[in-house]
Subunit: 354 residues, 2 copies
Amino acid sequence: MVSMLEKSKKSNFKKATISEIAKLAGVSRTTVSRVLSGGYFVSKNTKDRILKIIKEKEYKPSIMAQSLRTNRTRTIGLVLADIENPFYSRVAKGVIDAAETKKYNVILCNSNNDIELEERDIKTLMGRGVDGLLLTTVALKMKTIEYLLDRGFPFILIDCKLDTPGVNYVVNDDYFGAKLATEYLIELGHKKIFFLGDRKLLSLRERLRGFKDTLVDHKIESSNTFVPQKFINMYGIYDIDKIIEYIINREEKITAVFAGNDYLAIKSIKVINDNGLKVPEDISVIGYDNIEISSMVKVPLTTIRQPKYLLGKLAAEQLFEILENRSNKEIKRIILRPELVIRQSCKRIGNYKS
Amino acid sequence: MVSMLEKSKKSNFKKATISEIAKLAGVSRTTVSRVLSGGYFVSKNTKDRILKIIKEKEYKPSIMAQSLRTNRTRTIGLVLADIENPFYSRVAKGVIDAAETKKYNVILCNSNNDIELEERDIKTLMGRGVDGLLLTTVALKMKTIEYLLDRGFPFILIDCKLDTPGVNYVVNDDYFGAKLATEYLIELGHKKIFFLGDRKLLSLRERLRGFKDTLVDHKIESSNTFVPQKFINMYGIYDIDKIIEYIINREEKITAVFAGNDYLAIKSIKVINDNGLKVPEDISVIGYDNIEISSMVKVPLTTIRQPKYLLGKLAAEQLFEILENRSNKEIKRIILRPELVIRQSCKRIGNYKS
DNA sequence: CTGGTAATTGTTATCGATTCCAATAAAATA
DNA sequence: TATTTTATTGGAATCGATAACAATTACCAG
């Protein structure tokens, strides 16, 4: 019968257990377990014999059983705000590479810029038994942070500076980066600058702060230059077409757009073009992140470079360190320095006199 | 003492176990377990009582324990060839979304276009106890396929047509898509077309076949129009700059490049520009995939659209179906139809007469 | 030769669930 | 009232590892 054939085929390969190895080697499970974890306190003789049998039988210990017993899974959770944004893909790569070298695995969730989903993802991952969490977060509720903190659950924030006690993060200096970008625009003569970004996102909030402060420093008025609430729906996702249309058609014209990230910037440029305007001739656009394609798009994007891969790699490494060395409770906060990358999406429209 | 404080803080939240719930409800673990799995054969009375306690104590069954017992983890493995290629990110999103709705989790590996790493990833994931595998594969060794097949391990290939018995896949019709692209170039008058892609990759091999056959159909000679082996290192990764340089500088000039995917195409255009040539004026370039930015790059890319999100979503759904219904051994193969998307990266250079 | 220490190995409980089978209680039938 | 059924519930084994502690053996000095 087919089903029997299939069955036998499958059971051919039922994987060996530690007990079987023990029996074959004529020792107890404990001894095999010892060999598995380095082989200290086991005589060279038996160790070699067990090792040989393990290899022969292609024995691999059951991670589920190990996890149950040790309460460690060697798995971490990574919550990405948007896997399709190349910024996050790059961060993810840094994380995955670091995990690979440390023999950890990564369970990935995509919160899709949705605060509720993000919270669900975090709980799912914790329930799944990940050892720790890496969060490229949208707008983490304080409730969620407290939830994590309360149960001493190891986690590190990526691209999200949150100076609550006990919270670790790896970020670039968003405030400084935003200052860099804004200064640059001002220097080119821009005074009417629109900040395109969702204020709910924590990283963007920092950038917004840098933006505003810089305007104030230069005594430039900045009312009416943020995304109106009506374009931000409850999931924090907004319709770029509508926003650009709104900016273009209102009376008070702007001369430059500071986009919260390159992905947004590139999309905006497309929409601006679709509306018959040119970048940078009619409107200058500056981005943030310096994702790979920024240099390849129609109008090569002037932007702020932040070390994405490093962000992910460092964050993962920090987390692993916490996990391997749980006593070490010192705060781990890393702030990387961003840089201005000048390309062609911003135009001088006057001379700035300070 | 600090350490005691911390300790107590942590243990405050040690998660409840099924036994504790059972004790609180004055029933056996078995009964609680029954409630967990639907509550059949349990009186409404006790069921409600248990449910209430579960909610109160925020009890969540330990997935590790469940997995150990049932040998199912509700986790699948996804091996991406390159997470930074937007094509794969989009596919991944489809997978993750499908998993989310079916309450599965996804462990992600990035094989980085490396055959050896891919094989290692697969084994790691199997060892990790994933229920099944989704492979957006580079160039799967037959040995690996057989390994999976032999132990009846559920897996589905994405973007990789492999008609070995027992292998399931979800792909777009690469052969047809490549024909579409090639026909289009020929129609525009191109005869010297260079196929830019690593022949080791299975999906590219199909595209290459479509490319060659179309040339033959039109009686166009096609020697010397593939990437020479010397540019393909053992990891299958090649240096685009060198290749483009090679094409441009050799005697036999080509008029068009058929890039194996958009990511490659976009990078190529940049390199072509860097070398002082223009697209499409000097060289036409056609891509494959239609990734989002294809329409936003300097020269909007003419390409072949394939339904990336759907590819991932369908593959995941197929896999879940196999997992939920293991008896159902029918082959699941889905071939989606690609389309030509004409933008501005290809120029007419003559009239084609058939 | 013997007590003591070090080296090696085994016993057994445990992690937190599921599941087969048995047991009890309640309801239905004779 | 006695006997089946049926509906609920519990007992105990099990999944595959780890770890505390106990036990055995070997080795060495006195």
